[in-house]
């Protein structure tokens, strides 16, 4: 049970980190998109 708990915690940590990265990337993409759009408009 301890092992499965550890695995779960590890997985949760990994997914959370990935999530954070995704949010950052999305923010960058949005920023770039808006910049590009403002240039066109």
């Amino acid at each position: 049970k301890d092992e499965s708990m550890d695995e779960l915690e590890e997985e949760l940590r990994r997914v959370t980190a990935e999530n954070k990265k995704l949010v950052e990337m999305l923010s960058v993409v949005c920023e770039n998109y808006n910049t590009l759009r403002s240039h066109l408009v």
Partner: protein, 320 residues
């Protein structure tokens, strides 16, 4: 006086019998109570693992949603960027202002950061279904960039270290439209655009080399759609090019090559400098070519021929 009939019942009907309470409560509440009691009875490890699983599910779902949003956003970005590139390609004259150049730099750099780096990495890990689409769009954008940056050549000019100006005399006429300092190099980078022909889109970046401050690096982008000014000048005026720098015509207009030219010597062609140029760059037979071209253009000029013939014949007559 009988007050018994008008008395208010103040009893609260409180019942401390738990069995009775369960009977009065709705069935689902009772079940929940039993469930919660059972949960309390379970070990804290099980409880925490349940919470972990729940959290994991939530974060995974959020992750999936974010990936979808990112994919969509990237697609939109690529579409918009391609449209902008098409527009810029169709209207090259209108994008000559420094602000737009800066903007296009920003766009390309941000696109490089975004497409080349993180998005690909996460897609590889996370959403395999969307990765192929994004790869295709990324490939498209990369191909587009290579198409645009195909005609890039870099020329190294040797300059005196005391000379801090970023002016490189390569024979063409340039209009400076911007200057900025980059992180990797403390000396400023100057941007020039060819001003000889209005439709010429060739651009030039000039910056002092980090490794050797006496060397100035000029990066040319694009291909001149007009002849070299020296050729034009030679056809229009014969005497104009006497002190023109012969090296200027050696600068390649489109070929992606590297040329080293020593500018520390005098600009007018003398023996020592021409020798040095020959050593630095084997393709420096250009002065000869230039002379031949000038001769050809001069002989084609009927007025010049007549004037020359008159001058020679006059001199001969005068001697006689």
């Amino acid at each position: 006086m009988d007050y018994s009939s008008s008395w208010i019942n103040t009893s609260l009907n409180l019942n401390i019998n738990p069995h009775m309470v369960h009977q009065q409560l709705p069935k689902n509440v009772v079940e929940n109570n039993f469930f919660s009691l059972e949960m309390k009875k379970s070990s804290p490890k099980e409880e925490s693992s349940g919470a972990l699983v729940e959290e994991l599910k939530r974060v995974s779902a959020e992750n999936k949603k974010l990936t979808g949003m990112l994919t969509e956003m990237c697609e939109n970005y690529n579409t918009l960027r391609n449209n902008l590139m098409d527009y810029m390609r169709k209207n090259p004259d209108k994008e000559s202002s420094p602000s737009k150049k800066r903007k296009s730099d920003e766009i390309s750099s941000s696109n490089n950061n975004l497409m080349g780096g993180e998005v690909g990495g996460v897609n590889g890990n996370n959403s395999e279904s969307s990765s192929s689409d994004e790869d295709q769009s990324c490939k498209k954008s990369m191909e587009l960039e290579t198409c645009i940056k195909a005609k890039v050549s870099r020329v190294y000019y040797k300059q005196e270290s005391s000379d801090s100006s970023l002016i490189v005399k390569d024979g063409y006429q340039w209009r400076k439209y911007g200057q900025k300092v980059t992180r990797d190099n403390p000396s400023p980078r100057a941007y020039f655009k060819c001003s000889f022909a209005p439709s010429c889109t060739v651009k030039k970046k000039v910056q002092r080399s980090v490794e050797d401050p006496s060397v100035v690096v000029a990066t040319y982008e694009g291909e001149h759609n007009h002849p070299h000014p020296s050729q034009v000048d030679s056809t229009s005026s014969a005497t104009n090019n006497r002190c023109r720098n012969p090296i200027s015509s050696a600068v390649p207009s489109s070929a992606p090559s590297t040329v080293t030219i020593d500018w520390t010597k005098s600009k007018c062609s003398n023996e020592s400098s021409s020798k040095k140029m020959m050593i630095n760059h084997p393709k420096m037979e250009v002065p000869q070519i230039l002379v031949e071209q000038m001769a050809t253009s001069l002989t084609k000029d009927l007025n010049f021929r007549a004037a020359l013939a008159a001058a020679i014949s006059g001199k001969m007559l005068h001697q006689n």
